[in-house]
Symmetry: C2
Amino acid sequence: MLSYRPQMWCSAGVILASSLVSALAQSAVTASPNPPSLPKQATLAVLPMPSHVTAGTGQFVFDRGFDVVLSGYQEPRLDRARMRFLQHLRRKTGILQWPQASGLPQIVVETKSSSAAVQQVSEDESYRIDVTPMKIVLTAANPIGALRGLQTILQLIHTTPQGFAIAAMQIEDKPRFPWRGLMIDSGRHFITPDVIRQTLDGMELVKMNVLHWHLADDQGFRVESKVFPRLQGMGSDGQFYTQEEVRSIVAYARDRGIRVLPEFEMPSHASSWFVGYPELGDSKGPYRLKHALGQSWERPRDAAEDSSMDPTQESTYKFLDRFVGEMSSLFPDIYFHIGGDAEDAMIEWKTNPRMKQYMDAHGMKDPAALQTYFDQRVEKLIAKHGKRMMGWDEVLQPDTPKSVAIQSWRGLDSLAKSAASGHPAVLSWGYYLDLNEPASRHYAVDPLADAAGALPEAQRANILGGEAAMWSEYVTAETISGRLWPRAAAVAERLWSPREVSDSASMYRRLDTIAQELTYAGVPYVAARASAYDRLTTTVPAAALNVLASVVEPPRGYPRGGSRTYDSFSPLNRLSDVVPAESDLGREFCAVAGRIASHSANAEDLKDAQKWLEQWRDNDTLLAPGLGQSALTAELVPLSKNLSRVASIGLAALERMNHPGASAADAETFKKNQLAALKTASAQTAELNFAITPGVEALVSAIQR
Amino acid sequence: MLSYRPQMWCSAGVILASSLVSALAQSAVTASPNPPSLPKQATLAVLPMPSHVTAGTGQFVFDRGFDVVLSGYQEPRLDRARMRFLQHLRRKTGILQWPQASGLPQIVVETKSSSAAVQQVSEDESYRIDVTPMKIVLTAANPIGALRGLQTILQLIHTTPQGFAIAAMQIEDKPRFPWRGLMIDSGRHFITPDVIRQTLDGMELVKMNVLHWHLADDQGFRVESKVFPRLQGMGSDGQFYTQEEVRSIVAYARDRGIRVLPEFEMPSHASSWFVGYPELGDSKGPYRLKHALGQSWERPRDAAEDSSMDPTQESTYKFLDRFVGEMSSLFPDIYFHIGGDAEDAMIEWKTNPRMKQYMDAHGMKDPAALQTYFDQRVEKLIAKHGKRMMGWDEVLQPDTPKSVAIQSWRGLDSLAKSAASGHPAVLSWGYYLDLNEPASRHYAVDPLADAAGALPEAQRANILGGEAAMWSEYVTAETISGRLWPRAAAVAERLWSPREVSDSASMYRRLDTIAQELTYAGVPYVAARASAYDRLTTTVPAAALNVLASVVEPPRGYPRGGSRTYDSFSPLNRLSDVVPAESDLGREFCAVAGRIASHSANAEDLKDAQKWLEQWRDNDTLLAPGLGQSALTAELVPLSKNLSRVASIGLAALERMNHPGASAADAETFKKNQLAALKTASAQTAELNFAITPGVEALVSAIQR
């Protein structure tokens, strides 16, 4: 599932067709942040947007004098949720809560009954909130609905002249899809337990409910096995989760109403297993832990690092039986994800005489048939341990048992095909956060669009939801949160909120407040980025580096485009490693430029564009003296100079709008020259692209005389 | 010891005499950041400054390929220190360390032998570092010296065109004083265990070695007692450390070479004990937990909250005997601090008939004699449990056993008196961080100055060092780190480095890098402040609020001066609660203004002053529309307006310098009017003062015509 290539989305750093101009102008004026039933003036910076909201009268003012009371069904998880709620509220408001007393305003959490002992795919997550001036009542069928409602309440709190408050209102809310996941790849880079916990905190905030944990890949086997201790002992460089840590994280997730779905890739992407257990591999070994990164099509295959499991040996299945047994007791979820990718196997099995012989002996016509056989054997032993198998698109074969869930990275057609075949189906195509696409692109992908939407109702019901995916080739424990957030929240809203909630301008506005809320929820990604920037500003003014950082974006898609080579120990401490995937200021500038180009700009737009462009033009003067003095920033010398050039082109266009040239022919020459210069100055540099280039291009293209 | 009043230091918000002008100008030009033996161009942003440094040739470049090797004496604490070192290095550089391999550059930590099982006051903390291009060798007599040296190495790493590196050099270093403490008051506000741990991380970075932990006061008894469970059960609002947490923190401190000195205040400041055990109190009860804050002289005394221990009952000593026994086993340090403050007792004991009768019967002439009796009884039972007593100045009486250590809040005279009387003596006068004084003031206080310095050598040797103190009336777990750091580091340097290291300009430069280093060490105080500012910018532009925040300071000394009343549950979420105690930009501006006023400014100075003043003048335009829309910022409306006024006065002065008036008499009128206007505009507002006022005053005062 790694060969996903998002050509259709490539745009940053590329000179766009001038038809962009009108699209840019339009996107920024679209409105309607709130559901129709709520008055426009009410603040509802909630994400995901609840399905139904009705305004009331007055507001509930938070002061130190209030109680949070649990009522109805009780369990320790709810007590902990109450403490977490108070902590978030304290971080958000600074309010220290008085010891409980009678007569105080109350937040009452009324839970009807328990949820399942092991969280099910289709738990009731609905809740209702009634906010009145002296009381907030949250009602839910079970603790999971209560958790969802508590997050909504926290997000509703905002500043007013009277203090922190929530406007009186009624909310009725439930998710559109029962499967709203996030895939974290701990295989390529080890993501430390504290960062996994922070990720769960962020997921709770935006009501995601599945942590899909990719726990092994060629670069590392990350879970302690007591039955096969050489798995982590020789296959992890010492970077793995102990079983105690796993249990603690699973419990942490359950506390937040999140399932943990373990994935152990097989038959390919499993060479880290063979370092300690070479008998499992399909080559002759010896095997070694792979440190190289990147896609398999980018390098020649090396059997010592790129081998797959040997499907022809009974011992393989015996091993897997015991292994699945051990992991099944560690991970309580009903699903057990085997990946199912066989890229490398397809190469080896075609030529390896042992495989060929086995295929011949068993009447298998090709490696694909052998893979099907392998998958079916594995499915049986997973079922034997009381679990259901899950895999990526590749495991879908005509004979695959209907209980097997399919995760689609290929697209909506493949999702539809799985659902039509009767398989539970989950969409990840369109939700690959590691591709550094803008949130709006992910937001626009709907699991029930196109082929999937056209299915009959009964088959459509097999589509359980989706999962954002974060492969970790180019992120570490330090940088992953800054690439996950806040964009994962856009996917979370797509999967929770009604389909009609689809205005990306509203989504971006609310993403902005969620970005802040994440800090209160315990996800310090803003601070982590600030600290990473600090390394880059030891020889230059911090403000000037921030100016540069705020208008660049890392390349979209997998190729990084630069001259650096990467392995799993390469420091990811350059600007391209730590800037947000999406430039907010770039988006804003492009919208303003679009309005200018389409003659729908106001005076403020013109002032902003001029001010920004001048700042970008002049910024290199501040950066140039210091960038070369640090090995980390030397690569930014030409980038900073290019920013100055791009901005100058934008300023020249504005100037020409104010003082048109003599003729349309003149203008064409001007445009041609400027666009050529823009293309040169916008060439990807230091593995970064300018997010403002499309806006500057729009300005230049709009010149008439 | 809370009545310390720093009148001598009051200056912020007060119009200073114009003699300041030359002082301001001078302080900023003083140089010499490095010891004389190191070439000037070498970077040595280390704090505290080592006692001896010799430059070498070349540099050790950090790359992923290096090993940190422990050699000589081994213990698990050193392994953990190694892991911590690597984590700090990873945060600072982003370098992910390769799995160990042979032939890599090495950092070798050569430890000779163990330190004491319980850390002693006079451990050998010396170390030596040899940096050469392929090897760094750290040598220490014991693990504590190794810990100190590791922190020096981390601080030495800096960016170069070749990568992160340390210049070749030799360092020989040892502390000037064996007692370098930090007092944290967990009584008035409960400081959470995670913040205590972060504080220990910060202390390790700057080589402090005593956490003096003020664990009980009228507002709360913060340690779990299993023998007397109503202490925390009724006396803490549920905010206390379990014994398990205490043990974990003591171990955490030991890992960092830090002693933990517990303080339980008696006989006064102990009313939280009486809520659960009223028989200990000297009034008739019932007692209740005090929530009011502030100094005792600010309020009428309330016997239910302000009572003291009853020194006339044998049962009191029986209780204390069992209590000290329990706490002695929890806190391994040789010292047991009883505070010794008897402010409230002096009032009660004078009039309470039971006390008078007891004093008469035992021939005690006054409450002071009764206090002495109490202290002596307590000292005996502390000694019985194998500990030495420590107390503030008040416990020093002629008969006090010489083993009792005295902590001086009164001044160098009192410090000298304790030392002269043969007591181990520790200075805290001059180091009260909660008074919001600038780092330079604390830095200038030397434990061996004045009377203390004049003692004969043998008595002077009784002066063990000093302790920074952070009383917590106006800080919470959220805000305390922002008030501790980075100023505590100035005290740390005073107590570690040679006395000649005293240039405050150098100290401030290095404080700036330490502020950054603290984040890498795990003290997220910069992020915590950013998050606190976020609450204040929901209705105004963040950048504009930052401009205002960067030039204001909270009041110095205890009176807050505003109309808010405080108790221990008051939200501390206003700007005055969260700005740094000292404005760096204010200090910088005042230095520039001083140079301008004394005609020693260069062109850059003039440009900076003009640019800053214009920004401050115009900032209110950005803030005014939104400040009133949030209850948290409404109080800043007049402050922001005043900043505009103060800046306009500064600009008028610059303008007048460029275009002098007709006569000196004219100038006098101008000055008089402007200074009056400055005084009005600089009146304390929203419990904040402008740090730039002295600079503006200097500009105005310098006008000649």
